[in-house]
C-alpha cells in the first residue's frame, strides 16, 4: 500500500508541475557551522494548494545550500478531509524532494488535524499527541495546544525538568503571543509560560496565524509565529509594540541553525526573499541541583527589624490584586486542605489554600520572616473571584457558582526557583548551630506542631540553597495529640505553656505531639509524631536568648500587622499580639 502511495505522489507531482523545476535558493544568511543542528519550520501548511507546493520547492532549493536534516511542523498539517489521498496531496507531494532526501518531519497537531495523524509514520509522532526528541545539544518539545490537559502539563514539566540539553525549544500550534486575527492565546500562556520561564526554554515556535511574526523576547524567551506555510492572511499583523518583525504579504517558512550558544534564524517568503534574519542567544540555564560547592543557608539577617513591613509578604508590588480575576489552573488533591493553583491577570501563578490554615499560615510566615528565616510568600484575601473553579473535588462547597471564594491564602509560585528536596529536623547541615536552634525555638513559639519533613523544603535560588519551613498552617493553636490539639484557637494559644524545663544550659520548650495511646507508638507515623517533640527540646539557652533578642526588636504594631494581614478580627489580633509578646519576653528572661 505504501508503494502505491509513492506512485501516487509521482503522478500528482507531474500534474502540478513537478518539484525538480523549483527555483534556485537565493540569499542564505545562516552561518553553516560544523556539527550544528539545522532544521526547517513550516506551519499551517496542509492546504494542497499551489502556494504550498511553491513553498515546498523553496524549501527543497534551500536544502541544497543549507542541508537541514529535519522539519518541525507547527500544526494544521492536513486541512479539510483526511482521506488517504489528502495525505499525498497535502504532505507527501509538496515535500517529496525532502522526503526522498531523508529529511524527517516532526509534526505537532493543529485545530484542523485529526489526532490520529499521530499514527502516520512520516510525521514521526510515535503515536503520541505530544512528545519530545533530541538533536545534538537541543531538545525539542512538540505539544498539543488544542487540548492542554493537566496530564500533558505534568508531562511537560517532568520532561523539561529532566532535560539535560543546552537548548530547549518548544513548538505547538497556538501562539502565546501574536497580534493577528486570533491574537495571543492567554489561556495557554498562563499555563505554559511559567514552565518555559522556570525551566529556561529558549525559543518557541507556533502557527495558527497565517503570517510570519517575530515577537520581542518575552520574559527572556524568543517567540516566533510561522503559520504561512500554505495560506496567508494579508495585512493581518496588527500594530503592536511586541512585534520585532513581521511579514503578512505572502506565504513563508523558516530555516534555523543551532550551534553552541547561539540560534540563528532566517525567515523566507514563497518567492525566496529573506524577510527576517537574526540570532538568539541561549538563556541562562536553571540552577543545577548538583549541590557540590553550593552555599547552604537557613538564616539571613533581614536588616533593620524595626523597618520591616509585615503587612506585606514580599513588598507591595508582589501583593495579589484582590479585585482582579484569577484563572483556575489545577487542583492539588493531595494537600491537607482544599488547594488549587490559579494565575492572575499578569500571569503570576498562586497556590490557593482554603480552610482554617489560610489565616494561621499567613500570620506565621510573617513572624518567621521577621526573625530572618526563609518562608513562602503568602497573602490572605478575604474575597477573590476565580474563573473556572466550579469543579473542585474538595472544597467545592466553599466556592459560589460565580467563582467567588471567601477566605483564601495565596502563596506566590516563584519563577526561577527550583525545589531541590525536603529536609529533616534531624538531618541537615546545621545541626547544633545557632541558626537551626533559633528556628526550633521559633516552631515552639508558634505552637507549630506539624513538624513533618515534608513540610520543609530546600530551594535553589540565586546560586545558594535555602532551607525553609514551607508549611506553618498548624500554628497558633495549642499543641497536643490528634484529639486535643487545635489550630486557630487564640485563647488556647495564649494559655498554653511555652517554656518547659530549663536547665543551666539547655531548655525544653513545650510541644505536645505524643499519640493518644502509648501502644500506638508502634505505628511508624506515630513514632514520627512523638519524635517531633524533640525538635523543641534541649536547645542551648544562648541560642534561645539570641532569637528572643531579635524578636524583641519587633514593635507591637509590627506583630499586630502579622495577624492583621491574615484577616483576623481586632479582638483576635489583640489576643495573639499579647501572647506573642509574652513569649518573646519569656525568651529574653531565660
Amino acid at each position: 500500500m505504501a508503494r502505491s502511495i509513492r506512485r501516487g505522489v509521482g503522478a500528482l507531482a507531474l500534474v502540478t508541475g513537478g518539484w525538480l523545476a523549483g527555483p534556485a535558493a537565493q540569499e542564505l544568511t545562516l552561518p553553516l557551522k560544523p556539527d550544528s543542528v539545522r532544521f526547517g519550520v513550516i506551519g499551517d501548511s496542509g492546504t494542497g494548494g499551489a502556494p504550498q507546493y511553491e513553498v515546498g520547492r523553496q524549501l527543497a532549493a534551500y536544502h541544497q545550500k543549507f542541508p537541514f536534516t529535519f522539519v518541525i511542523m507547527l500544526g494544521d498539517n492536513i486541512y479539510g478531509g483526511e482521506r488517504p489521498q489528502d495525505f499525498i496531496q497535502k504532505f507527501e507531494a509538496p515535500y517529496k524532494f525532502l522526503l526522498d532526501a531523508k529529511v524527517l518531519f516532526y509534526a505537532s497537531l493543529g485545530n484542523h488535524d485529526d489526532p490520529n495523524q499521530r499514527f502516520y509514520t512520516p510525521f514521526n509522532m510515535s503515536g503520541k499527541r505530544y512528545y519530545t526528541f533530541k538533536k545534538g545539544n537541543a531538545r525539542f518539545f512538540a505539544l498539543d495546544s488544542n487540548y492542554m490537559d493537566p496530564v500533558q502539563l505534568a508531562w511537560l514539566e517532568s520532561e523539561l525538568k529532566s532535560s539535560g540539553s543546552d537548548w530547549k525549544i518548544a513548538y505547538f500550534h497556538h501562539p502565546l503571543y501574536s497580534s493577528g486575527m486570533h491574537g495571543s492565546q492567554t489561556d495557554l500562556r498562563v499555563l505554559l509560560e511559567p514552565l518555559f520561564v522556570t525551566y529556561s526554554v529558549d525559543a518557541v515556535f507556533s502557527g495558527h496565524e497565517h503570517f510570519y511574526q517575530r515577537i520581542k523576547p518575552q520574559k527572556g524567551i524568543q517567540y516566533f509565529v510561522s503559520g504561512g506555510g500554505g495560506q496567508v492572511r494579508t495585512g493581518d499583523i496588527g500594530a503592536s509594540t511586541m512585534t520585532a518583525a513581521g511579514f503578512d504579504a505572502d506565504r513563508s517558512f523558516m530555516l534555523v541553525e543551532v550551534a553552541d550558544k547561539e540560534l540563528s534564524f532566517q525567515a523566507i517568503s514563497r518567492t525566496g526573499k529573506t524577510i527576517d534574519k537574526g540570532t538568539v542567544p541561549m538563556r541562562a540555564p536553571v540552577p543545577t541541583t548538583a549541590g557540590a560547592g553550593v552555599p547552604e543557608v537557613i538564616w539571613r539577617d533581614p536588616g533593620p527589624v524595626a523597618s520591616l513591613n509585615l503587612l506585606d509578604a514580599g513588598g507591595t508590588q508582589h501583593r495579589p490584586d484582590a479585585k482582579g480575576t484569577f484563572t483556575f489552573l489545577r487542583e492539588d488533591t493531595q494537600a491537607t486542605n482544599p488547594t488549587f493553583d490559579v494565575a492572575d491577570q499578569q500571569g503570576v501563578q498562586w497556590k490557593v489554600t482554603l480552610g482554617e490554615e489560610a489565616r494561621t499560615e499567613t500570620a506565621a510566615t510573617r513572624l518567621v520572616r521577621a526573625a530572618g528565616y526563609f518562608v513562602d510568600e503568602d497573602y490572605y484575601l478575604a474575597e477573590l473571584t476565580v474563573r473556572g473553579v466550579t469543579m473542585l473535588q474538595r472544597g467545592g462547597g466553599l466556592v459560589s457558582a460565580s467563582g467567588l471564594i471567601h477566605g483564601a491564602r495565596l502563596e506566590r509560585r516563584p519563577t526561577g526557583v527550583g525545589k531541590v528536596r525536603t529536609w529533616g529536623w534531624f538531618d541537615n547541615p546545621f545541626l547544633g548551630k545557632r541558626d537551626l536552634n533559633g528556628l526550633r525555638v521559633m516552631m515552639a513559639l508558634l505552637n507549630n506542631w506539624d513538624l513533618k519533613e515534608v513540610n520543609n523544603s530546600i530551594y535553589e535560588i540565586g546560586g545558594e540553597r535555602r532551607y525553609a519551613v514551607t508549611d506553618l498552617g498548624a500554628s497558633f493553636g495549642n499543641t497536643g495529640n490528634a484529639v486535643t490539639r487545635a489550630r486557630r484557637a487564640p485563647q488556647e494559644y495564649a494559655d498554653s505553656r511555652f517554656v518547659g524545663s530549663a536547665g543551666s544550659d539547655l531548655i525544653d520548650f513545650v510541644l505536645h505531639n505524643v499519640p493518644i495511646s502509648p501502644g500506638a507508638l508502634n505505628v511508624p507515623a506515630d513514632r514520627t509524631r512523638a519524635r517531633m517533640e524533640d525538635v523543641t527540646r534541649q536547645i542551648p539557652r544562648a541560642d534561645a536568648k539570641w532569637l528572643g533578642r531579635r524578636l524583641s526588636m519587633l514593635s507591637d504594631a509590627q506583630i499586630r500587622d502579622c495577624f492583621r494581614a491574615a484577616g483576623y478580627t481586632p479582638d483576635v489580633v489583640g489576643v495573639y499580639t499579647q501572647a506573642v509578646r509574652k513569649r518573646i519576653a519569656a525568651l529574653n528572661a531565660l
Binding site: 488517504p84 492542554m148 490537559d149 491574537g183 483556575f328 480552610g355 473556572g388 473553579v389
Partner: protein, 212 residues
C-alpha cells in the same frame, strides 16, 4: 427524576451490570460508615461539615459521570476486541480503515445509545454552568475568537466526526475545570454543544446542547 434533597437524584443501580439488591446492601454499609465518620468528624471539624452539602452533591454527580464513562470504556473494549488496533504506519489508508472499523464496532455495540446516556441531565446542568461561566468571563474579543473557531453542525450520538470540520481548540482553563477523562476520550465544542468524542474511533459519544 426527582431532585428532592432527601432523595439521591442518581442511583448507581441504573448503570449496566449493577444488581439493585447488592446496591442496597452496599448503600446501607456506606450510609453506616458515613454516619459513623460524620459523628467523629463533626466533633473535631464543625466548620468543614457546614460546607459539605453542595460539595457532596457535586461529588455524587461526578461519581455517576465517571461510572458512566468507565462503562463506555469497558463497552468499547469488548466491542473492538479482535479488531486491529491503530498503530504507526506510513499508509494513511490503513489509519482510516482502522479508525472506521473501530467506529463501526462501537456503533454496533451501543446501537441503542441515546443523548444523555453519559452526559445525563444532571451532569449537563453542572457542565453547562461551568462552560457558561467560563465563556461569560472572557473578554468580548476572546468570546468572538472562540466562537469563530467552533464548527457549526448539529451532533448526533454515534456520528463520525466529519473530517471537513476542524476540531475546535478546547480552552485550556475550561478543560482544567471539567473532570478528567480517560485516555482516548476528549471534550470538544461545537456551535452550541459540548461533545464527548472517542479519539481513536472518531465518533461522537454523547453531547450537551445549549452550553453557551
Amino acid at each position: 427524576m426527582s431532585e428532592s434533597p432527601s432523595k439521591p437524584v442518581f442511583n448507581i443501580a441504573h448503570l449496566p451490570g449493577r444488581h439493585p439488591e447488592h446496591d442496597a446492601g452496599v448503600t446501607f454499609l456506606i450510609h453506616s460508615s458515613v454516619v459513623g465518620v460524620c459523628v467523629v468528624a463533626s466533633l473535631a471539624w464543625p466548620a468543614a461539615a457546614r460546607a459539605q452539602p453542595r460539595a457532596t452533591r457535586q461529588a455524587e454527580v461526578m461519581a455517576d459521570f465517571n461510572a458512566r464513562v468507565t462503562a463506555y470504556v469497558d463497552l468499547t473494549k469488548t466491542a473492538t476486541q479482535g479488531l486491529p488496533a491503530l498503530k504507526r504506519t506510513d499508509d494513511p489508508a490503513e489509519i482510516a480503515s482502522r479508525e472506521d472499523g473501530l467506529g463501526e464496532a462501537i456503533r454496533a455495540g451501543r446501537s441503542g445509545a441515546r443523548p444523555g446516556d453519559i452526559l445525563t441531565h444532571e451532569t449537563a446542568r453542572v457542565f453547562r454552568r461551568i462552560v457558561k461561566a467560563d465563556f461569560r468571563r472572557r473578554p468580548q474579543h476572546g468570546q468572538k475568537v472562540m466562537r469563530d473557531e467552533i464548527p457549526h453542525f448539529r451532533p448526533k450520538v454515534n456520528q463520525t466526526y466529519p473530517s471537513e470540520w476542524p476540531l475546535a481548540t478546547f480552552p485550556a482553563t475550561l478543560l482544567a475545570a471539567l473532570p478528567a477523562l480517560p485516555d482516548g476520550l476528549e471534550y470538544r465544542l461545537l456551535s452550541e454543544a459540548l461533545i464527548l468524542r472517542d479519539v481513536k474511533a472518531n465518533i461522537i459519544v454523547d453531547f450537551i446542547l445549549d452550553v453557551f
